[in-house]
Symmetry: C2
Subunit: 296 residues, 2 copies
């Protein structure tokens, strides 16, 4: 995992240019998942891939690889406030011996959220890769667009925990020394929270790359300025780069959303007229960059 | 591409054991795609992955990689006699320069079949890999189970063409020397044919691994014996291993199905009481093995 120049987002623009005018409610590139109508149902469709090289931290067990593959895909369903219904996966295996454990991890996460695993595909590769595909049903159409001036910015839990653990591992820590190992190895998609929040929030997305990226996406889609005025770093102490982890760390899979008020999350900022993402710390304001964990 | 011990099918049995009792119409492992109900609609869900190492023949252009990724996924939708509606893909790139061409290939195939490309995911890998997910709507529930004694066995076009080309390439042929280059580089999913055939056929599947594998799957699922009594090899001459290519060659993406009669395909055999798959040639009968092109 590394910080990079966010080429991925340049590529997403290309996707939007080619497919953005498809006649669907929300097409490729505009939200965490696509919204389409099937009969009179509002359905969300999303896919996400994890692989050994970019996504699996040291000490990860095969069962956790399976869990992570479905969890990150369901996180995008959660970002629609939708109930996930079905999951499929394309698994590229390095070694057949991992296969059953990967499936068991997928099943454990699917069972927890009442998701039916209905299909898949098996392949062989030097790099263990799991492409997940989920379908869910939404009550209403909530995306990154819709944040309103005067609202608060909320998050389901304070960010930076997964990245903190990852950096500790990179500096030689053992798994059992990590303060938030479960955030890194078995992230929990915020399904129930998302379904509750979607009833009243104006915009929502999940935090996969970083809080900064997610807020920039809400800011750009909603055409508003976002100011983080309640940055809490105590959960990241004694890390020296706590602010960096909070803003730019990836892998938390929390939901960040805008609303007048909320009992489901922690208020971290406010929506203002204008553009961009800013942070206020000790009376000083600085611009939050568009960057975070990236696959490139 | 190579013939192997079909370990993939052992792994599918494991999937069936873990997920086979999910409360859906047709679950993982039983057909080319899963059938589920969304509202009052009969929906099929399927995923398929192609990668540079196992699936992309020499001389393949990036646009053809994109085409192939969606085409093989839609082929499983065709095997349900369903109309494909939406497509998503997870693309793992080796080089960013291929990205636009891959997307263009996906778009060209999607446009041809009226499929909407609604999402995707981009990743980076040493091996270019495209995982495709498709959703379609079926009229009725047709699977590999349902073939009846006395019916004929039909195929939308004679098999072995893709494998013939691949073997010619392996022996040093140039792309322009191939008799069926389009079968190898831009296979066409039999969407319209599948929708027509599903109205009257009793069982159907596509030929991805080999005709032999597809027929064994119909035979096992339907609990019948299949006898190939009209093996035509002229399209494969002057290959010395024409029968091998016909029975065990992969990558044709034709539909094979059983029906009383059919104007949509070529009659190649018959359904009898019993078990297994057999071929009759020049008055001699031999058993057709369960093997074909495999990813393992
Ligand atoms: Mg997301
Ligand atoms: Mg995602
Ligand atoms: Mg198939
Ligand atoms: Mg397939």
């Amino acid at each position: 995992m590394f910080y990079a120049n966010m080429k991925e987002f340049e590529l997403i623009k290309l996707v939007e240019r080619l497919f953005g005018d498809e006649d669907v409610i929300t097409p490729a590139g505009k939200h965490d998942a696509a919204y389409v109508k099937i009969g009179n149902r509002l359905i969300v469709l999303t896919c996400d891939t994890v692989n050994e090289k970019s996504d699996f931290p040291p000490y990860m067990l095969p069962e956790e690889m399976g869990w992570m593959a479905i969890a990150v895909t369901l996180s995008d369903v959660a970002a629609c406030g939708a109930r996930p219904l079905y999951f499929l996966s394309s698994i590229s295996l390095k070694s057949i011996e991992f296969f059953e454990d990967i499936l068991l991890g997928i099943k454990r996460c699917a069972d927890r959220f009442g998701v039916k695993v209905v299909g898949g595909d098996i392949d062989f590769s030097e790099i263990t890769t799991i492409a997940g595909f989920a379908i869910g049903e939404a009550r209403r159409h909530i995306t990154r667009r819709g944040a309103k001036v005067g609202e608060g910015v909320f998050i389901t839990d304070l960010p930076g925990k997964a990245q903190l653990c990852l950096e500790m591992l990179e500096r030689g820590a053992k798994r059992e020394e990590l303060p938030y190992a479960e955030k890194l190895y078995t992230p929990v998609p915020r399904i129930e929270e998302g379904m509750r929040i979607a009833r009243y929030a104006s915009a929502m997305t999940d935090v996969s790359d970083s809080l900064a990226v997610s807020l920039h996406q809400i800011s750009q889609s909603s055409n508003v300025k976002i100011v983080l005025d309640n940055i809490v770093l105590s959960h990241l102490s004694p890390a020296e780069n706590a602010l960096e982890l909070f803003l730019y760390g990836g892998g938390d899979f929390e939901l960040v959303y805008t609303a007048k008020s909320s009992d489901d999350g922690i208020r971290i900022g406010r929506v203002e007229r204008g553009k961009g993402v800013f942070a206020e710390i000790d009376g000083k304001t600085f611009e939050v960059e568009f960057r975070g964990y990236s696959h490139f």
